[in-house]
Symmetry: D2
């Protein structure tokens, strides 16, 4: 193992930059040559890569996004695309890949390794925290804090104007972000894909609360559980109370990574390089319950079961 | 003038709380008794008010929203509503009102003063900065910084994924917020009600830029100039490039007021009380070009002409 | 167990308010009457307490500090003080105490329980994260992010003016905060009580780096490992290069709690009430490696051994 | 005028980067060639400069500090230094300089222009806002908001622990920052160089307040009016109440520029280039009461008289 390459693929997540920094600097420190590949798999296919050194990753530790850029590259899913990516790897004598991304990234890395026998190690970076077997992904702590801060702002208006708000947060199929920000912001209710939701019961509560003088109401909804705009409309219809929808959208993807997201990224960068040096492949490195874990690609890409009971029930009690 | 009352009406704006603090404490310092009226005109109509003292406004200077709460009260626009409001004023021997709000608030205050001869002074608080004759309203600096911060976040993804983003900001009929955040965030273009916009020319630029390698593109649109979702759709159709819409929405209304919004609020609170003490009425107090001004209600509620040329042209040059 | 009381003692930490919220609302939900005691043990000694309800803890989840206020109360360490505190407990038929605080708080609670047999459960809240047996205390994630944000700011000047900075962070006897912010901010070096530090070697590195053109340098020092002012002076003397000291100080204690600090606080509030309901006493509830733990007061107050090797070595590699 | 150069000198200020961006892009747009000079006058002396283009200033609008770096360069104050700087200017056929900085920068530019007849235009960038004739400098709005945010944090502890805090803010000889953050944060008192301060009267107020139950107290002190540590010590002695000092220090210099600082910087960059194109020299461009002004170097570097009465008296009334 003398030369490795690092790429970021799929949706960007805050903390990808410190992860790149760690792979490059730790790799160089271990005597490796480290390439930075631009735009994920696209960069391998189109031979857009560069030998990085210590200075290549200076001043990026606190920046959101990824200096390597990232794409969702459909060309990779063709034989020709994969062959061209492999030609780049061979041409530059790259012995191993560190792939920073989410489920789609690891699925692709799995294909690539199986076909060309190039060792691939994944680093779980995704605001949605939906990688099976991994407790916390790079970026999710940041996204949660960004969404929380936005909801704190909205609550100022909700309280001052005594309105009902439905706030939609990111998370794809997962209610992870929604659950966290709902409890942390003191929201009155949360709608997540993991749990059936009884909108009529909620409207009943709203009407009853309204009669007792409780007029502002905040509901967080995961994007995978329905659109905020639709839900707000239904609540207006059922309660005749003015209800506003806010879709937080892409502000949740960017911004400076939190301390947690940065430190996790730095540790996992080191772990990924160590895996390659130890002859491992087809693993995602991550943290689970405070411990380092290595999860097979095939396991990591399966649907993650989110244990929602604790927080979900606590929300109901605390509001 | 022995007793005055302060109310907040219309949409909330960050800085209303320091304005309340200033009216109450400066008023008390001048020997007045100061009532806080809850929920704007509704509170006068329904006799929801309270004698405030120095401590009533402790610990609120840095809080968004308004501790007095605010409503848009249709009942006030009936004779009965107005009479009931006046009964409250008479019953509590209130000699003057400080009305913190926007255009609708001053229109109502104008009616109230004309009918019952109760002196009314307005304080311009509105994130939209759309009060005629007033340079800067309380809250607009905060809203601009909140929107700017959100766009900084979005740019991380726009740059990393090389996407086109259309970001809709608040401002009602005014392009004020849009213009400010567009230039401050280094956006590629801005769409405001004050200027015709040629979407085809922009799409042409995007396509040309794309050929030269410039792939990320950020366009800010004022809510009064069209919906971000529609515009994004049109751009996708015209350019065949993936374009995302983000509607920043109510996050722009809340949050801790900036230093500028707080200090403006504190100064205007003092000025409003001084106006009442000096026997004035039917004026909005505000700042214009660094100087205190007093603008007649009838002037303040006219459509404000925004001078957009300087910033609009500079945006075109700097992108 | 029908009536419980909650108090905050020792240094304040961001997240104490959501912890109070959780104890009160979860307790009420379980059928308990919950008293809020003001100013920690002082409030028991001076009978300053109040029956709280659901509304008493509204609108505090996002606020730093503690609405119950907190003191370091020397009077409690006298027989008379303890007796008076017990009189208050007896008079109000309080069956159990939830004590939110740090080491000193649990030492006091241990004394109180041993002497009067009143069940006491502790919740670990301390920015220093120095409670033995507890992985993460309420407030430490917030303090780390606040310090990190401050250091991000300082780095702008360090880079622009090419200066050496020594930044002192809080943490008492522990290098926990220092280690976290040093790695997360990409600092060049860190000085913590847990490790000997060779200032001469560092100065040697600085001089060598300087010759290679690396002129800005950032060193984080834990307050327990020496003063930033002294260290900066020594570096100036050894290297003849201008070196600045910044002591971050009390900004690290305050501010809105992060999502992590809030959620941890809410969960631990529930856990503490459950402990009391289950007849437990003399335990600190906390999280360790993602799992709930209950640690005896006597264990919790012992000196916590911080495992610094992983992060400390990684800092050396990544800079 | 075909070629110009831009440099940043003196202390860095948030907004220098957007100012550079504006000078470069607006200059290029006007058909000029624009050099970026590194490390201020040092870069002219040592011929460290580079021809910039549109892309050279991409992605910097939201960054604190200055990509051109800055030094306080004593060598410039020698004949030899000045001659070498002039050689660089001549060698690269530079027809004019834009100097972004503060008083020292304009004094140097004045010398340079007088000696070699190279047109020099200054842009006022300084967190201290101490440029005579200029209402607001680039960076001061950002520094005020950073200090304010820090004081908001400290107040959480001041309130929770009921302590007295003395917080020292930057501002050199000027009480500008101190005055703004004191009023905006709701501080109890402020100590500035422009006004005599009676510490005994304040201690008297503290003791009296203490007797009435007001225990927390926050005093902002300008660095030019005495050290926070000393003042805190004196208060402790006079009142016997525990008093803490916090020196905010260099966190105030860095961080992302606010919308106001960015927009001001962008406008002034344009104005500076226009001045050079119009054959002007020895002027500082700036804003005063919402209007563009051009102030002679000789006037700009005189001691600025700060009109403190309005805010100073209002602070006394509102606390």
């Amino acid at each position: 193992m003398k030369r490795i390459a690092v790429l970021t693929t799929g949706g960007d997540a805050p903390g990808m930059n410190p992860a790149i920094r760690s792979v490059v600097r730790y790799g160089v420190n271990k005597g490796l040559e480290v390439f930075g590949v631009f735009r994920g798999w696209w960069g391998l296919i189109n031979e857009e890569l560069k030998l990085f050194n210590h200075r290549s990753v200076s001043g990026i530790i606190h920046e959101g996004g990824t200096i390597l850029k990232t794409t969702r590259c459909s060309e990779f899913y063709t034989d020709e695309g994969q062959d061209r990516a492999y030609q780049t790897v061979k041409k530059h004598s790259i012995d191993g890949l560190v792939v920073i991304g989410g489920n789609g990234s690891f699925r692709a890395a799995d294909i690539f390794h199986n076909k060309y026998n190039i060792p691939c190690i994944g680093i779980a970076a995704s605001i949605d925290n939906d990688i099976n077997g991994i407790g916390t992904t790079i970026g999710s702590d940041t996204a949660i804090n960004t969404a929380l801060c936005a909801i704190d702002n909205i609550r100022d208006t909700a309280t001052s104007m005594e309105r009902i708000f439905v706030v939609e947060v990111m998370g794809r199929e997962s209610g992870f972000i929604a659950l966290k920000v709902a409890i942390a912001s003191g929201c009155e209710d949360v709608i997540i894909p993991e749990r059936k939701f009884n909108l009529e019961a909620t409207c009943h509560n709203i009407i009853n609360g309204n009669l007792r003088g409780k007029i502002s109401w905040m509901i967080v909804v995961a994007e995978g559980a329905g659109g905020a705009v639709d839900i707000a409309k239904q609540i207006t219809e059922m309660t005749t109370l003015e209800t506003r929808a806010v879709v937080l959208g892409h502000i949740q993807r960017g911004g400076r990574p939190t301390a947690f997201s940065r430190i996790l990224a730095l540790i996992l960068g080191q772990a990924a390089v160590d895996c390659l040096l130890n002859g491992k492949t087809d693993k995602v490195v991550g943290m689970n319950a405070g411990k380092m874990v290595e999860v097979d690609f095939k396991v990591a890409i399966q649907k993650k079961q989110l244990d929602v009971d604790g927080l979900y029930n606590l929300i109901k009690v605390l509001t």
